[in-house]
């Protein structure tokens, strides 16, 4: 909404219409405050619980402040999950998936949009979209066997599969965005003698940047948080990703809230930091797509 106001504002000011201070929309504000609470409250419990001692963690008062502040949860979580290795594998899988998704989806979308009148490209678009309707659990069994057969029962296999599962949604986003880029721009590049490859790298891909950010963020969240696929595909427990390692905290018989929450906090931090730095891009990407599309 904020983006649309500047243009009509200029003539409005000339006509000397008095600008009254905006009335506070109380009902909406209250709803939004409540919504904020649903996020902030669990976050508060996570943080305070992570700093509690083992005794205080099970005393039944989730909202109490840690007293005394203890980092035993962090130490134990660090050791139990072998955090540096787990985080390293998770980072590898996530980086691979994000990069793979952005490039492959951009390539595919460019080819599809510019050759839309060819049957082959049109159907390949529908083919890629169809993958959106296949959830991983449905194909888990054959994929476990296949990856085992071809030596991909490791993080490499997870990168490959995660990229594939992200591809359909990403292609959808990219194609919609690509259609809004005027073909004339590309024609001018052609006239200057650019090849298809050059046109893509020097013109289209930079123009796709906001959408690439959006696609990248979706891929990042998916790959970083995914539990089921790595747990089933990666055969060697020492190459397991962080969410799977954290599964050891989910037991029926014992509660180690302080250890688990410390571990979750450590695992969450990269995602939160990534979001802090890239949220501007996400918003930009979404609004740009919305206005032009």
């Amino acid at each position: 909404m904020a983006a649309t106001t500047p243009t009509p504002a200029a003539p409005a000011a000339r006509q000397k219409i008095r600008i009254t201070p905006e009335r506070v929309n109380w009902s909406a504000t209250i709803i939004l405050i409540l919504c904020a609470f649903t996020v902030l409250l669990p976050l508060y419990v996570t943080i305070s619980m992570a700093f509690k001692s083992g005794t205080q963690a099970v005393d039944g008062n989730a909202f109490s402040l840690p007293n005394p502040i203890s980092i035993e949860g962090f130490v134990e979580a660090w050791n139990l999950t072998n955090f540096p290795v787990g985080a390293g594998v998770s980072a590898l899988v996530t980086a691979g998936t994000v990069a793979g998704t952005i490039f492959l989806a951009a390539f595919a979308s460019y080819a599809i949009v510019r050759n839309w009148d060819h049957k082959f490209f049109r159907y390949s678009f529908f083919y890629l979209l169809a993958a959106m309707f296949i959830p991983f659990p449905v194909v888990a069994l054959p994929q476990i066997q296949l990856t085992g057969l071809v030596g991909l029962a490791n993080p490499g296999g997870v990168i490959l599969l995660a990229t594939m599962f992200q591809l359909s949604f990403s292609v959808l986003l990219f194609t919609a965005f690509l259609r809004s880029i005027p073909y004339e721009l590309e024609e001018s590049a052609r006239i200057d003698g650019a090849s298809t490859w050059q046109t893509f790298w020097k013109l289209i891909f930079p123009l796709l940047a906001p959408m690439s950010a959006t696609v990248g963020i979706f891929a990042f969240l998916y790959a970083w948080n995914d539990f089921m696929m790595p747990s089933l595909i990666i055969a060697d427990a020492q190459l397991q990703t962080l969410p799977v390692r954290q599964n050891i905290f989910q037991t029926q018989f014992s509660n180690n809230y302080h250890v688990s929450f410390a571990s979750y906090l450590m695992a969450m931090s990269p995602a939160i930091i990534a979001y802090l730095f890239t949220q501007r891009w996400v918003m930009e990407g979404v609004t740009q797509g919305a206005v032009k599309g």
Partner: protein, 426 residues
């Protein structure tokens, strides 16, 4: 724009590196010259203990290097699908593992020296989870015995002795209730239906019905299980369920329907209730809040005959070696090490379990002492809630009954589920 191209090249290189690392990582397993075996261990509370055991073993010899895999039972199942199961496993013996046993995917352990020392009382219990004809597929490693946990101080304060019969139990509960003490702490909240299943449901039924005979009959009857079969849930379980409901309707805390497993442990630790129907795993949780609380255990009496008293046991851990593993000899060597008296006794002492070997030095923790005579005499049963296949949500049925569903109708539903499952698997 050479910059863009350089950046693109850099990113491409990064992607390739990532893929290469991923691919090569699987290859470099054993560099040290020792034979590496993968050891799946699924009991999460005991991971630190088992880490030490593995480290000691690895240091003690220079032929086998054990790598512990604690990723859990789903991952183990996936590895069977993939065809590279762990070389050896210590896993909770349940209906999930029974698939591996029944399909003969596990090697015969009968000729190991560990197998010679297993308490013969336990063999029929292990066999309840399926057999592969002619093989000893799994060896019990840790037996958990569960019954009623009670607060000794509260019992002493009200001059209550451990009840041996159903009427003793009711008298004790009445006395506590009259004195304003909550007799039993119920934890019936949504996600913790298992506490009703393993406690209330199993202890009630196990205290009245011969579980071994019951499940043998049920397996024979198969699709015919129902109102007209020789035995069925609706016939044999109705009386125990009615008694269970008599207890849960009258003698539990008022807010039981919204209390969880963790709440129950906290309440026991704070002395808010006299009894809790939980297994020994709860002791370490209670000790987090009240390390010096005096607790005891006794089997839930369901009849007027003290001779019927039995404790619920489960094969908390059993050892097995899959056929598809490549290191059978090394795995067996490690298995024998695990069964050395000092290792297996120390493990069970740490988890308050019973050691399933004949030469065991059982732990003498006063908290489990109340169950020991029954275990030694073989007066034990495996809980019906774990002997029913997982695809029948028996925990939820038990929860429904406790929260007000008609027991007759609910038990008939379990029968119908059983018959349907038998039909599907026939």
């Amino acid at each position: 724009m050479p910059l863009t191209r350089r950046r693109a090249a850099r990113i491409t290189a990064a992607v390739l590196t990532v893929a290469a690392i991923g691919l090569s990582a699987a290859g470099c397993g054993s560099m040290s010259g020792k034979e590496t075996i993968r050891f799946a261990f699924s009991k999460r509370e005991a991971i630190p203990f088992m880490n030490d055991v593995v480290a000691t073993y690895n240091k003690s010899q220079n032929k086998v290097e054990v790598i512990m895999d604690t990723s859990g039972v789903d991952v183990t199942s996936a590895s069977f699908v993939r065809g590279n199961p762990p070389d050896i496993a210590l896993a909770n013996h349940n209906m999930e593992v029974s698939r591996f046993v029944e399909r003969c995917t596990l090697t015969d352990l009968a000729d190991t020296s560990a197998a010679q020392r297993i308490n013969p009382d336990l063999t029929p219990l292990v066999d309840q989870y399926g057999v592969c004809e002619g093989r000893t597929s799994a060896l019990p490693y840790s037996v958990m015995s569960a019954s009623v946990i009670y607060n000794k101080q509260i019992f002493a304060d009200h001059q209550i002795t451990v009840p041996q019969t159903w009427s003793d139990l009711l008298a004790a509960a009445d006395k506590l209730k009259a004195a304003g003490v909550t007799p039993f702490y119920g934890t019936f909240a949504g996600t913790d239906a298992w506490t009703i299943g393993q406690g209330w449901f199993d202890y009630s039924a196990g205290g009245m019905v011969d579980m071994k005979e019951f499940f043998e009959t049920l397996h024979e009857e198969g699709v015919n299980v129902g109102p007209h079969s020789r035995q069925s849930f609706q016939k044999d379980f109705l009386e125990p369920m009615n008694r269970m409901l008599q207890l849960t309707d009258n003698y539990v805390n008022a807010d039981a329907a919204s209390r969880t497993y963790a709440d129950g442990n906290l309440a026991m630790a704070q002395g808010k209730a006299a009894m809790l129907l939980q297994g020994p795993w709860a002791f370490s949780e209670i000790a987090k809040t009240a390390p010096n609380l005096e607790l005891g255990t006794f089997p839930l009496p369901m009849t007027e005959d003290p001779g019927d008293l039995r404790v619920r046991v489960n094969m908390d851990l059993a050892a097995w070696i899959p056929e598809r593993g490549h290191h059978h000899q090394a795995a067996r060597d490690f298995l024998e090490y695990l069964y050395q008296p000092e290792v297996i006794d120390a493990y069970n002492a740490s988890q308050l379990g019973f050691t399933p070997t004949t030469d065991a030095k059982q732990n003498d923790d006063p908290r489990v002492a109340g169950m020991k005579p029954y275990y030694d005499a073989g007066q034990m049963y495996q809980g019906p809630s774990v002997l029913v296949h997982k695809s029948i949500p028996v925990f939820n049925y038990a929860q429904a009954m406790v929260l007000g569903a008609d027991p007759q109708a609910t038990l008939a539903t379990i029968d119908a589920d059983w018959a349907r499952l038998a039909f599907r698997q026939a």
